[in-house]
Assembly symmetry: C2
Homo-oligomer: 188 residues x 2
DNA sequence: GCTAGCATGTAAACGGTTACATGATTAG
DNA sequence: CTAATCATGTAACCGTTTACATGCTAGC
């Protein structure tokens, strides 16, 4: 199974929090990406139709006077199942690309079980520490000294800072998940 | 004008350094993205054809015994012009998305003129400091305290660290460009 | 009455992924 | 001889962008 890309995951994620109509979904989706590349209608509404076609969400005309042609979108049990599957067992690609991983993180709280959440974080951490990431080529780390171009050095520097910040956060969060108590999200 | 996406920019950027055949292009392209999502043949070769169709590159069968059906790709004057235009006057989208901006940075040294390079960096810096980035919503900064979800807080934290590192580097590089001397790249 | 914002949709063009197909050269 | 790697391409499918189209509601 496993449908679509980040967009369908995000739609299911938001609808899992509560039913909403397409326009609100659009606002939330756009806020997620930091407003740039506000999700276009031509992407959103077909995506909704596809999810409906698969039975992962339901559409209902909103009666009670109110606004124009509004439809309330509700996630189905099937859709919830699909969401949890995608959160708990992300493909390699979903954890290797920061944008995709962040799309996943946005809804990771919805995944029941501290261990299940921790496992996802561990996968990402393993990827960041693997000798195959951005900073490695041909098996060994790219040395900054080997890169004469100042802009490429800059990219490397920024990517390293970002990776370090992420690894530190991952380790902190994993420690939190290890000792029950103050956690949000579900217990083991 | 302005053709294609990141891929065509990157192809032109590499070919601007020296002629090469498609397979080598593919290796370099894949190295750029940190090996993941190695650019697929079905994306690369059609992209080459499109660029050829626009007269931005030329294809020549490689004689001299050598290998199988190899073709040397060479950037044309037109292609070089297009590259410089896209480097020197990037669209807002090209500087607002880190992936896209990095694609641009990879070849920014090819843009003649310290001032022209500095201008591009300033645009990116302005974007990162604008009250409209990832960290802002509805006009004012997103406060970490306002975000109850631990994973969304993590994303915010990582994004902030990354943004800080980038701004610091941008400022340093801009200072370097201000005082001539040790620079790589062309003089004003 | 009109404009701005809410709200939903369709269709063409574009470009990327995946899978398939082919063949030459090099190393074991 | 056979497998791996070099090297190039095509075609079906999918999802996004862009542009267009429609109509309601609220405030001026």
């Amino acid at each position: 199974m496993a449908s679509g890309g980040d967009l369908s995951l995000t739609i299911l994620g938001f609808l899992n929090e509560r039913p909403m109509h397409g326009y609100e979904l659009k606002a939330r989706l756009s806020a997620l990406t930091g407003h740039l590349r506000p999700i276009s209608d031509g992407a959103l509404y077909p995506a909704i139709s596809r999810l409906e076609g698969k039975g992962l969400l339901e559409r209902h005309e909103e009666e009670g006077s109110a606004a124009a042609r509004r439809q309330v979108l509700t996630i189905t049990p099937q859709g919830r199942k699909e969401l949890l599957e995608r959160l708990g067992d992300p493909a390699d690609l979903d954890i290797s690309d920061q944008t995709r991983f962040f799309a996943l993180l946005t809804f990771l709280s919805a995944l029941p079980g501290r261990q299940a959440q921790a496992e996802v974080l561990r996968r990402r951490l393993a990827f960041l520490e693997a000798p195959a990431s951005f900073f490695h080529a041909g098996g060994r780390p790219v040395k900054m000294k080997d890169e004469p171009d100042p802009y490429r050095r800059g990219m490397l520097e920024i990517a390293r800072a970002s990776s370090r910040a992420e690894r530190e956060w991952l380790n902190r969060r994993l420690a939190e998940l290890d000792q029950p108590g103050d956690g949000d999200a579900a217990a083991p």
